[in-house]
């Protein structure tokens, strides 16, 4: 928890305090994410995968991509929702333990994107399950996806949204 703030008058203290915050952030949050594709073109999916690889390496931030919804805290959704995928999306969501959070990655997940109006597409993610964070882009850059997760974490921790260093 972040607590005991306010007494920081000298630089040293403030530094310590900031460090504590960073540590808390890192320690208290090792969110496990599961990725679900409900009809995407794969563009968003490879960018999510790219976040795991050395250049971006989200594991250094404690984020781990997980295979089973039962172990996951965060659901990363990509793509519009197709008719076949709708029930599976619901099911994956329901299988996740509370508290659970959903990040919609990519224009398709947000609005249906280029696939609006296709007969087998029923809509976007938040028509099926509640969404907490939207990451726009077609596809969003890995940095943006990481930022999306980070924003979610900040909300979880109750800290304000991004302060520049």
């Amino acid at each position: 928890m972040i607590g005991g703030a306010g007494m920081a008058n000298n630089l040293e203290d403030r530094w310590q305090q900031a460090l504590e915050q960073v540590k808390t952030w890192a320690r208290a949050n090792s969110p496990w994410a599961i990725h679900f594709n409900s009809g995407s073109c794969n563009g968003c999916d490879i960018e999510i995968l790219a976040t795991l690889t050395p250049l971006y390496d989200v594991e250094r931030l404690g984020i781990k991509l997980q295979g089973s919804p039962r172990h996951a805290d965060v659901l990363l959704c990509t793509g519009p929702v197709t008719r076949q995928a709708r029930d599976r999306l619901r099911r994956v969501y329901e299988q996740m333990p509370e508290p659970k959070f959903v990040i919609a990655v990519g224009s398709c997940a947000i609005s249906g994107g280029a696939f609006q109006g296709c007969y087998n597409v029923i809509g976007h993610i938040d028509e099926v399950i509640p969404v907490d964070v939207y990451v726009p882009g077609c596809p969003p850059r890995p940095e943006a996806i990481i930022d999306g997760v980070a924003k979610l974490l900040q909300v979880l921790q109750g800290t304000e949204v991004t302060k520049p260093l």
């Binding site: 073109c41 490879i46 690889t53 295979g67 089973s68 995928a85 599976r88 696939f115």
Partner: protein
């Protein structure tokens, strides 16, 4: 075949969700002990109805829609479509634009093949190679981004040309990037053909003979690894390939190892061609005008996507949107081989056989084991993969 003793026949469904383009699959492998005796597939979990949607969008809008059939080979879809429409409209695209198209197509092939090397290595339990190849892949992603402004779905094509140009600085950057990648690729070739643990998962697994490959209708590197001389860049050069010829890489061993080798060797070809293009990029316009309404007619456009032949059938009735667009993606062809190859192999080899055709899927899947006797259990893709890795570890 297998004697079906009053037995415990298991069906192992894998999937249904392969984050893929038109062709994510739900596989069901029937197993007798360890050995797969039958396999079926059900596609369409990501079926969005794009072919129908093209009929209600204009020719230009379709460019953006079709590019999004697949995020991994987006450029090649747009290219196939553009080439087809340009043929129908009877316009000639300037040579510089054609060269730039080839340039982007080859960069895309590099990204796609490196991606596959990583994913395939991951399925084999060789995560170090996965991480390395994806790290190096970022080099080509940076080049694509510098060139087109986006890492995926580059949108480099226009009907009648391209919307990007190659500046001298970009050209220098590409040269530098390629030098680095070429070095790394040599390393990969070395690893995939010499690492004894890795070879246990690839050498002699999933062998497809040339006859089988032909019968199954394999395409792309998968077919070329089975001795099929078939590469549209050579057979029917499109865009700028007539000016920038490619050497076909063929080998007839047909196992998973060969598929690695063929794809990796194709990378060297791509590097060579890109350098050739940068050296001799013709001057001139980047785009010609294409009318809003396309003359009535039918055309067929075939291009070599990273995964094999991509086939477009386009029919216009003279209005500003197409009457019918048929897309046949390479994975559609190669998927059949998975079913045929699966039979007779160990269940533990399934992830590798699946990934061997580069079925355009990326990450996690869920599977359920249904015991026809009644009991029910759950397996994840991850578990199946782990099972494969452990299985090979246990072997003497």
């Amino acid at each position: 075949m297998a004697t079906q003793e009053k037995g415990r026949k298991f069906i192992v469904p894998i999937g249904p969700q392969h984050p893929a383009l038109k062709e994510p699959g739900h596989f069901e492998f029937t197993v007798d002990g360890e050995i797969v005796t039958d396999a079926t597939v059900r596609l369409g979990y990501v079926h969005r109805g794009i072919e129908k949607a093209t009929e209600s969008r204009s020719w230009v809008q379709n460019l953006y829609l079709l590019e999004r059939i697949c995020g991994i080979c987006s450029h090649i879809h747009a290219l196939a479509y553009c080439l087809g429409v340009e043929k129908l409209a009877g316009v000639t695209v300037p040579p510089r634009a054609q060269a730039v198209r080839v340039l982007v197509a080859e960069l895309e092939r590099i990204h796609s093949h490196l991606l596959w090397v990583g994913v395939a290595a991951h399925e084999a339990g060789f995560d170090t190679l996965f991480m390395y190849s994806w790290r190096d892949r970022e080099t080509v992603m940076d080049l694509l981004e510098a060139l087109t402004g986006n890492r995926v779905n580059y949108s480099a094509n226009l009907l009648g040309g391209v919307k990007i140009d190659v500046t001298d600085e970009q050209s220098d950057a590409i040269w530098r990037g390629l030098d680095f990648l070429e070095d790394r690729t040599r390393h990969y070739l070395d690893i995939t053909t010499s690492d004894s643990v890795f070879l246990r998962r690839t050498r002699g697994i999933g062998v497809t003979t040339p006859e089988q490959a032909k019968r199954l209708g394999l395409v792309g590197p998968t077919a070329r690894a089975s001795g099929i001389w078939h590469d549209l860049r050579v057979d029917a050069p499109y865009a700028g390939y007539a000016d920038y010829p490619i050497t076909m890489i063929v080998s007839d061993t047909g196992d998973l190892e060969t598929r690695f080798v063929v794809r990796i060797k194709e990378l060297f070809e791509s590097y060579r061609v890109i350098r050739h293009i940068l050296d001799t990029l013709p001057d001139g316009e980047l785009v010609t005008r294409v009318p809003r309404r396309i003359k009535a007619g039918e055309t067929i456009s075939r291009v070599e996507a990273p995964r094999g032949e991509l086939f477009y059938f386009i029919r216009s009735n003279g209005t500003d949107s197409p009457e019918r667009i048929k897309v046949r993606t390479p994975t559609m062809c190669n998927m059949a081989s998975v079913l045929a190859l699966a039979v007779g192999h160990q269940l533990a080899d399934m992830p590798m056989i699946l990934v061997g055709v580069d079925p355009c899927f990326s990450c996690n899947d869920r599977t359920v084991v249904v015991d026809q006797g009644g009991a029910r259990g759950g397996w994840t893709w991850e578990q199946l993969r782990q099972y494969g890795i452990d299985y090979y570890r246990r072997q003497p």
